[in-house]
Amino acid sequence: MNSIHFSLIKVAGYRGRNFTLKTNPRGQNTVFIMDGNTGKTTIIELLRWCFGHREREANGTFKHMWANPAHLLDDTKEGHQTCEVTIQFSALDDQKHEHFFQLERVAEGQHDDTRPPLNENISSVKDTLEIDHGISVLTGDAVFDYVSQEFRFNECAEYFCFDGEKAREVMQLASDSKNINTLLALVNRRTTHPKLEEYKQRLNGLGERVLEEAKARITDRALELNMSKLNGILGDIRLAENQLNSFDNEVDVCRLALSRLEDERQQTQNQITTTKVNELVERNKYEVEKKIVAERLSRERDSIYENSEDWISASTADEINQIKMQVKEKGKLPEPYRRDLIETCLACRKCEICGRPLDKTSEERIKKLELQVAPHSVQVFLSSNLLISPSSLNAESKYNSIMKLVAQSDLLDVKIKGIKLSEKDTELIAKRESLDKQISALNAQIATLERDIGDRKMWITDLKGKAKELQEKSEALKENKIILDKIDESIKIIEDAEEKIKNKATEIISSVISEGVSSILGTKFSARFTQAEGLMLGEDGFYGTEKGGYSGRLVLSYCFAEAMTVVGPIIVDTPAGNIGTPRENLASHLVANHNQVVLLCLPTELTNFANIISQKEPITINNMKM
């Protein structure tokens, strides 16, 4: 079914408010005038929630602007409450017959102070879908499954419901080369062929069958152990690959959050720097100086530790050498036995030196001996003499230089504290400090995740090598080697096809985005989206992540959103605000490329924008609190 047309979006009880948006008939666009804080973003977020999450996952997944999860109910009202979202739309089948759908999601619960951070308890979320005025009714997860399969709303709810926040997110993704993977993941998800994925799964399933059968026929204990080991390794590979995927996703999320925080920090810093209040400017100057002093202090301290050998004088080295000798001679460390000798004795249950079989007592003794063996590196360390050249550390001068920096820092602290700031300025400083902390925590998290990703990749390579070796060794697998080899070959053919699809689809997406950009910003502008460089705006054939200014990049994000959507209508919230002159072109572009535009706009967007979207009288929405 296609030619979707939204006819009604009704919200009842959302944080104590009601909205009803009734659109113009099929074939016409609709403009709703909604002033600030009257629910424009709420409508977009509620639609994304209904189309993006099935009933069983709905509780706790509603997000709103920066709050994730966000609350749904009225926090000023006691007792049982409901929040109901009703979405009516129609679509045409292949014979152009119109079918009607009403999707309803009802969340029930109550405000509850004992459940922070949302302070509400949602006891249930229920979905219902009425098809053709009740001829067929679906409930539960079947609702999501139906609308996802039939209309693919789930794949593009983030983009056909578009707002300034999403535009900003896309702009940030496109501005930083570190985000290429996140952008590509969006496109790759879009271009993954479901059948090919299924074939790969079936081939992997066949591989498992071969292993299972081989395992079942093994009678030899050693071979059985070998096979168990192989199964274990294959399980570990699956586990490591899952972990790798989840770490990759987590890093993407962190990078996005980091990019937002850095953006916000930059804005706060700009506010601090450009403020006309002298005190704040002065304080900022001292803070910058203090930061420089702190960095120098840290470098001075680090240099002491980096050259720590300088601390030790030649006489200390003698003392250390004596201690080492004592440990070696009297510290009850045995001669350096060779570990492999002990291991062979225990494995063969006979003494490798005299050839006698080991009784239980001897075996126990050897096991203890194994525990006592110091590693070779320790033996080498104890046997070597510590040589220290005369100390080059001038402790007094280092101390003086550090103390001077500490005094400088203290003085700057006094100056900073001596400056009286207005409440607003203090807020700005506090905000910046809080953002700094969050940025630093996120950077640490990303570093840890990247380390984990590196570890997992090494682990996977190592495990795959071991698995290959075991497979080759295993007699039981030899006769089925032909199947295992063919599985590898077939998977390679499928993966090659997938790669080709991804590359061609990326080219298509790139050309569609470019067409959009040119039609809105003018022919000197274009866009390029590649697997290597991500999304870039071009001006006169030169591409870059900083071309086009804010307005151009906003248009680029709109065109990206259009390329990501798979349904005809687009529901947009306050799109013209920061666009500037190209707003008329953007309006014409939206009208030309979507079978329905639903515009939620501010009164200031009526001229040169909303009037192009629809010549019909705009509908003013009064958002009433119950």
């Binding site: 074939y199 081939l203 089925n480 053919i493 499928i494 689809a505 259009e562 005809g568 490329n593 979507h594």
Partner: protein, 63 residues
């Protein structure tokens, strides 16, 4: 103003679907040289034993 499609629908997915179909068809055509992929596409793997699959592949290798 340039339109993406005559019926005002966003047609990008159609174009991507076409590419998917084209590459998929190409792969199926090429798969005639790959006996295991052939079995998979014909939906026969699930009903065959490991021995039957092995003999089938060996037979194809000797052809």
């Amino acid at each position: 103003m340039r339109r993406l499609g005559h019926d005002k629908q966003v047609v990008i997915q159609k174009r991507i679907d076409e590419v998917m179909k084209e590459e998929f068809d190409k792969m199926i055509k090429e798969s005639s040289k790959d006996p295991l992929l052939r079995l998979l596409l014909e939906g026969r793997i699930a009903s065959m034993s490991i021995k039957e699959i092995r003999d089938h592949l060996k037979g194809k290798e000797h052809e």
